[in-house]
């Protein structure tokens, strides 16, 4: 009697591990870049900073991004009917990483408004928790347009570089296989 292999689950252990790692990594990087953009865009110098509030804001931001990122990935899996890992493997086969390096950087820069707003909200929430403003000079001392532009620039550059490195890693594997043959 022939046994058919069990179909792969839509959401497996590795899928969840990937969501947590990737969304946690970007949650951390986005927060650092948003915070740095706000720090560099203060009208009054020197800038005063409360470390405790900054750290609480970081934890809130990472947690928020992990939760929303994982929820979004789970929704995508259910809607597409394939696991996110299988989807990534299909994309690797079509050489999509290599073709979308610049596109990923540009869309990262445009979309940076979302993690920037998220980071701002997390800092406000952290200030309520700790009872200290992250920047005691207040939000009025920040040049918000400059901060958003800086954030878009940072995210655009980092996004392009990460996409470029990912494409090289994938390409290296294909070439390594060809050389082995």
């Amino acid at each position: 009697m022939k046994t058919t292999p069990d179909p792969q689950p839509l959401i497996g252990k590795q899928d969840v591990a990937r969501w947590l790692t990737i969304s946690g990594f970007w949650g951390f990087v986005f927060y650092l870049l948003a915070y740095l953009s706000m720090l560099l865009s203060q009208r009054r110098q020197p800038v005063l900073v409360n470390a405790k509030t900054v750290l609480v804001g970081m934890i809130l931001h990472i947690f928020a991004l992990i939760t929303s990122g994982s929820f979004f990935s789970a929704m995508t899996s259910v809607l597409r009917g394939t696991s996110t890992t299988q989807d990534a493997r299909k994309q690797a086969a079509t050489n999509l990483l290599e073709r979308t390096v610049v596109l990923q950087g540009v869309s990262g820069a445009i979309g940076s408004i979302i993690p920037f707003t998220f980071s701002r909200r997390c800092l406000q929430m952290a200030a309520k928790i700790t009872g200290q403003e992250a920047f005691p000079a207040g939000e009025g001392a920040i040049n918000w347009h400059q901060a958003q532009l800086l954030m878009a620039f940072f995210v655009g550059v980092v996004g392009t570089i990460v996409a470029r490195i990912s494409a090289w890693v994938a390409d290296d594997h294909v070439k390594a296989r060809e050389e082995q043959k």
């Binding site: 720090l39 020197p46 409360n50 470390a51 750290l55 994309q91 594997h173 296989r177 082995q180």
Partner: protein
């Protein structure tokens, strides 16, 4: 004879090699500086801690520039010493599974190496202060250096672990897609 040497040099250091050195070393220089800088900022004993943006930005540019230059020179030296290009070396490591096996080792190595990054950040800050004639941290004497080193090692180790793991997954995905 000399044309053979020229050819082998060309194989060792090609255009893609140089592009990779610049991209990798500038990326890590930037990330290392931000993490070291923020570790110093949150390790002030007196709160709130003051910081000046202009010299901080100058220090970031100096650190990234120094790391790009140093990283590229180190990569070129490694290529010559091994007699193998960096790209070829990476492909060999992917083929024998090293990339997937050393995620944790690489993260620990990065955490230990974070001390060098912190020292380079301190050096860049000192040079930036001389250029701009402004202190990055006007109350620098209140920095708890033990805490700053631990914060720097922890954050750099975590980022290196995440990046290493993501790279290992990309290798795995490509392998599975080739099999399919």
């Amino acid at each position: 004879m000399s044309s053979t040497t020229d050819q082998s040099k060309q194989d060792l250091i090609g255009q893609e090699e140089v592009a990779r050195w610049l991209v990798f070393s500038s990326f890590w220089g930037f990330i290392f500086h931000i993490l070291s800088f923020l570790s110093m900022l949150i390790s002030h004993r007196r709160q709130p801690a003051p910081v000046n943006a202009k010299p901080a930005l100058t220090a970031m540019a100096l650190h990234t520039g120094a790391f790009t230059l140093g990283g590229s020179l180190f990569s070129a030296y490694s290529s010559f010493k091994r007699g193998k290009s960096g790209v070829q070396n990476v492909r060999d490591r992917i083929a024998d599974g090293t990339v997937e096996r050393i995620v944790v080792v690489r993260a620990i190595g990065a955490a230990v190496g974070a001390v060098c990054s912190l020292l380079l950040a301190v050096g860049s800050i000192k040079v930036a202060e001389q250029i701009t004639e402004e202190k990055v941290f006007p109350e620098g004497d209140s920095i708890d250096w033990g805490k700053a080193t631990v914060a720097s090692a922890f954050s750099i180790g975590t980022v290196a672990a995440a990046v290493g793991q993501i790279a290992a997954w990309i290798v795995k995905d490509t392998r599975q897609s080739i099999k399919a």
